[in-house]
């Protein structure tokens, strides 16, 4: 998924750990071949190339995924949108809309109502994969684990071997090692959306996040972190809240009663303010 994957199994022996890891790796490889829009032979690439012209046959998992995407599109008031304009590289301002993904459950097909769109599961895939990783860990009866996808999507099962939960700190973008907020995680997930930083320096990715409401890329220096029971909720919600207009946030949060969200806003002199986002 173009991202570093880390798995820490503190109380699993080497042989079992290796077995679990191999199964997880195979699952992630499978999902990448399915969901990546950058692999030329992925299933998503096939859908993106053909669904504008004809209904494309899809499997049960795809139906679940695309229905979830459409559900999230509605529950985030269109702030979470997996569709892009095919020529979005040239024209960021053109809007697309997940409602253009037409799923026919009876025929098991997907079709694009707007021929100009494509699907990008970038803001969905890591969360979806973490939930599948969780399934595998449960299957193997793993009691304690910490799983990280690029350090921005975290799954915490059970607790730290020397604590009552896992403490996950959101790092200061400009001061590596300094935490601006700490989440206590136990059998839940955390996801962060926002600017990238490495060694205290911002790494701009202007096309990384596009506000689906106005089609503009989001460029303020801030991050949104979300804690949820399901990884996919954390992933979707952090992305949606990041691009959402202020006045839509409360409404969106009401649709995610089990999630907590905090926002870190950085000033020009690199000072940070933390806001807990409220439902009312």
């Amino acid at each position: 998924m173009g991202t570093r994957f880390d798995l820490v199994l503190p109380d699993t022996d080497m042989a079992n750990g290796d077995k679990v890891f191999r199964q997880i790796k195979a699952e992630i490889d499978r999902l990448e071949k399915k969901l990546s829009r950058f692999l030329p032979d992925s299933e998503l690439t096939y859908i993106n190339q053909h669904a504008a012209n004809n209904p494309v046959k899809i499997d049960h998992e795809w139906i679940t995924i695309l229905e979830a995407c459409n559900k999230y599109y509605i529950s985030t008031y269109s702030c979470f949108d997996v569709t892009l304009q095919q020529d979005s590289g040239k024209n960021h301002n053109k809007l697309s809309g997940a409602y253009n993904i037409v799923i026919d459950k009876n025929d098991a097909t997907v079709n694009f109502a707007d021929p100009g769109i494509m699907i990008d599961l970038g803001g969905f895939g890591k969360g979806y994969a973490l939930d599948r990783v969780n399934d595998i860990l449960q299957l193997h009866n793993v009691k304690n684990a910490l799983v990280s996808f690029g350090e921005s999507s975290i799954l915490a099962i059970g607790k730290h071997p020397h604590g009552n939960h896992w403490n996950i700190g959101i790092q200061h973008l400009f001061k590596p090692g300094e935490n601006v907020f700490v989440f206590n995680l136990e059998n839940n997930n955390m996801s962060t959306s926002g600017m990238l930083a490495r060694n205290g320096k911002l790494r701009y990715r202007k096309t990384a996040l596009i506000n689906p409401v106005n089609g503009k890329s989001v460029e303020e220096v801030r991050t949104i972190s979300v804690k949820s029971v399901k990884a996919i909720d954390a992933e979707v919600l952090s992305t949606a809240l990041y691009v959402s207009p202020q006045n839509r946030r409360k409404k969106i949060l009401l649709n995610f009663p089990e999630s907590e969200a905090i926002e870190a806003i950085y000033t020009n002199d690199k000072k940070v303010s933390i806001f807990v986002l409220k439902r009312s």
Binding site: G2, V8, S36, S152, I154, S191, A208
Partner: protein, 425 residues
């Protein structure tokens, strides 16, 4: 040269300086600093230019000619070819300004020529090079050095005796990507090199159009043993040089097998070769080349316990990519029975990117030049400064010897130990 063209070339050199770092430039590519600081509005006086004669202006020779036309410090003073179409084309490419010859010995008689560039068929490299060096000319000769090992040795000996520069066309030695890679290797980034693989695969008959049958061997000289050792001298020598350079040793034992299993068209040289080169320290280079499949293309893979380099792709792969710092912190804490906050999440949502798991680029920016223009710039600089790099000729010599002995190993179906009398210091 047009100002705009020259401007863009200087931009290119500056960007090389920028991406590679100045100490790297100063040590490995010393002429580059001079070029980068060149004043674009200033025209070089004729006395500042190196006057060059090109002997052999076929496909490679005319490419070298085009590169040299872009180098302000070079004046193409003469051209020479005994094949009329190439002779005419060469004259035309120099706008009839260069003196033109059919016999290279006449070219060597011109007093105000500083150096020659030789791009003839392989079997003619040695005697032309030796004649040129003895006539007091510096020589740039295309690889491989010669058709026979003893002729390579004679070339080196004449170069050392006359004190004239002899540079061989191993352009990878001048390619910043390769130079940077060698720096990383010397710094121990791969650990000790334990295995090397190289290959060059093409899917074509390697033939040039022949206007009339009696010209077959003159045009398609690469396919006949009298003139060439085929894949070994024309392709493998480049990659063997890279392997030798990376390891810092020269092979002393060679095994090989090859055949003509596809292009049964009257050619005499193998259309596929497969060899194992053993180095004194016990490392092997596994080499193969074929002309009936191009799927794998070309690559040099250098492997050690810490990592791998793919030099044509310009990539480096660590055996153990460092864990994310936050996770490292966590593991450290668990091992020391400490419960603390794990600093994560400095990152964010980013789109899928297929490049991340596919190694790191040796240079951030790849260059359009494969080193050919740079090696010619270097040659002009060496001639002007009269500087000889003794390591260059050792590299070139052993690459040629290894290619030729590899060919012999295949032909004789015998393991070949590099004889003592072919070793140079």
């Amino acid at each position: 040269m047009e100002k705009s063209e020259r401007q863009s070339r200087r931009e290119f050199i500056r960007s090389v300086s920028l991406i590679t770092g100045t100490s790297f430039i100063a040590s490995s590519l010393p002429w580059m600093n001079a070029l980068a600081n060149e004043n674009p509005d200033q025209t070089l006086s004729p006395s500042d230019k190196v006057r060059i004669g090109i002997i052999g202006v076929g496909s490679r020779g005319s490419l070298l000619l085009l590169h040299m036309k872009n180098i302000p410090s070079i004046e193409i003073a003469a051209v020479c070819d005994n094949y009329p179409p190439h002779f005419d084309r060469a004259k035309e490419m120099t706008n009839n300004k260069a003196k033109a010859f059919v016999d290279y010995r006449k070219l060597l008689e011109i007093n105000d020529i500083d150096a020659v560039v030789i791009a003839t068929p392989l079997n003619e490299h040695a005697h032309i090079t030796i004649d040129a060096l003895q006539a007091g000319k510096h020589v740039f000769c295309e690889k491989s050095m010669a058709r026979l090992p003893e002729n390579c040795l004679a070339m080196v000996n004449t170069h050392r005796k006359t004190g004239k520069i002899l540079q061989i066309g191993h352009q990878r030695m001048f390619n910043p990507k390769y130079i940077k890679a060698m720096e990383f290797i010397r710094a121990g980034q791969l650990g000790n090199i334990t295995q090397m693989r190289a290959y060059w695969h093409r899917n074509n008959d390697w033939r040039r159009t022949v206007p009339s049958p009696e010209l077959e061997k003159k045009i398609n000289w690469r396919l006949y043993k009298e003139f060439s050792c085929g894949l070994m001298t024309e392709l493998a020598s480049h990659q063997i040089q890279v392997a030798n350079w990376a390891l810092g040793e020269f092979p002393n034992k060679i095994m090989g097998a090859g055949s003509i299993n596809y292009w049964k068209d009257g050619r005499e040289v193998h259309d596929n070769v497969n060899l194992v080169y053993t180095y004194p320290g016990g490392t092997q280079l596994i080499y193969d080349s074929c002309t009936s499949n191009k799927h794998y293309g070309l690559e040099e893979q250098i492997m050690g316990p810490k990592g791998t380099m793919e030099l044509e792709a310009g990539k480096m792969f660590s055996e153990t990519p460092p864990p994310a710092p936050g996770i490292m912190h966590l593991i450290n804490n668990i091992e020391h029975k400490v419960f603390d906050t794990i600093p994560l999440g400095g990152a964010s949502w980013v789109p899928d990117s297929p490049s991340k798991n596919k190694g790191e680029y040796i240079l951030d920016e790849d260059l359009e030049d494969d080193g050919t223009q740079l090696e010619l710039e270097a040659f002009a600089y060496s001639v002007k400064e009269n500087k000889i790099d003794p390591e260059h000729i050792r590299q070139a010599y052993y690459a040629s010897i290894a290619a030729l002995l590899g060919f012999n190993a295949i032909e004789k179906e015998k393991v070949i130990i590099v004889p003592e009398n072919l070793k140079i210091v």
